[in-house]
Symmetry: C2
Subunit: 240 residues, 2 copies
């Protein structure tokens, strides 16, 4: 980490969203338990999320091969949901209820520190999302949770998904700044590593409970510009 | 107008920005007078804005012909500024000052009713921009003027400019609603007409001083869904 980094050159902080700003595990678990009584909400949430990476990989491979177009996360989540419902032996969920459950991703709760931490950072920097989630999902989520984004940026804007460099460099281009004037804040080292290669600053946000009570390793890594306990902690480090 | 339209089916209000939400004439005039003492700021502002339509036409024709890519409004404004400076006999503005003057479009002041009117509408609807202005410009403007958008949408997101149907229909697609669940609010009848063809609702906002003291005809037209004096008036009509 850069002990001497004071953020004075920084203009924009782009946030990963799922896990970093909102608690997908707690949100999905609670909605599943409400919608599907008797089902293990925690296991269901983990299975749904676990389906994301392979599904996204498939979409990216088809895009790279020039087959099929850009896919919204809403559609991706819906496809995975079908499989997970089957795996959990749920066969009687009608189409409307399935659509509503899929929208649980639009209703995820913010981590307790997120709204105030973002408001503090917003006074000094442009704060935006940089998520593979679609714009409509991110907007619904922000409206409901009170996340005070200056701007909602998404894979949908750049027609490329993280970790494609076009997403990280796209943020710098949108705001007409250099990559080093942008920080990616995320709870995932792979996302931060891809941003670093593009010249962005990186801020790691600890989210030990991202996957529930089975704690995640959140130890600092020297290659990140900053390491913060939560978004309020990031605001502290940046003097906001 | 639809006297019986109560907005209960409406989900999203997309706003044209230049002239509708912010006062480009007053903002540019003041910045020109500050940056270029002795120059007629009012005439300069009108000339700069008058250059927009033909420049945009050129960009759209090149796009349609498959020549050249998408152009940000910042670049378009810069090109027109060069011509207008020449026409006004200004030959000694250095590159940094020219860039700064071009950013005056990022610093336009909101009309006095805009911030409160938008905040009222936001409690009931998703409110977003739908402007040919680029995302960075619209974000800077919103941050400075306190415009409480849920989401910044722009020609830059859809890679098409208004009045291309992809922009109006794009708003409905982003939020997964029907075109009739979206209203375009604008101070310009041509913009509203193009949205109407796509099935959007239309809200005309009177801005008699858009071009300064030479008053604009703001009389109602029957084909618009709603006609409001200003954004607060639109909130009144929609019961916000």
């Amino acid at each position: 980490m850069s002990a001497d980094f004071d953020g004075s050159e920084l203009k924009v902080i782009a946030f990963d969203v799922f896990g970093t700003v909102v608690d997908w595990y707690g949100g999905i678990r609670a909605e599943v338990e409400r919608a599907l009584p008797g089902i293990d909400g925690a296991a269901f949430a983990l299975a749904w999320r676990a389906g994301y990476q392979p599904a996204m990989q498939g979409v990216m491979e088809r895009l790279a091969a020039g087959e099929g177009g850009f896919t919204l996360i809403d559609e991706l989540h819906m496809g995975i949901l079908g499989t997970v419902l089957e795996d959990f032996g749920v066969t009687d969920l009608d189409a409307a209820k399935k659509r509503d459950l899929n929208k649980a991703w639009h209703r995820l709760p913010a981590w307790p520190d997120a709204v105030e931490g973002l408001a503090r950072l917003k006074r000094k920097y442009i704060i935006c999302t940089l998520s593979n989630g679609n714009i409509g999902l991110l907007t619904d989520m922000a409206k409901r949770a009170g996340l005070p984004w200056d701007c909602v940026l998404s894979a949908e804007v750049f027609k490329a998904y993280k970790p494609d460099p076009r997403t990280y460099l796209g943020v710098a281009a949108v705001f007409d700044v250099t990559p080093s004037q942008v920080m990616l804040a995320a709870a995932h080292h792979d996302d931060l590593a891809a941003a670093r290669v593009c010249g962005l600053r990186t801020g790691y946000i600890e989210r030990p409970y991202e996957f529930g009570s089975k704690l995640k390793d959140v130890s600092p890594r020297a290659e990140n510009t900053l390491h913060a306990r939560d978004i309020g902690g990031l605001a502290d480090l940046l003097g906001c």
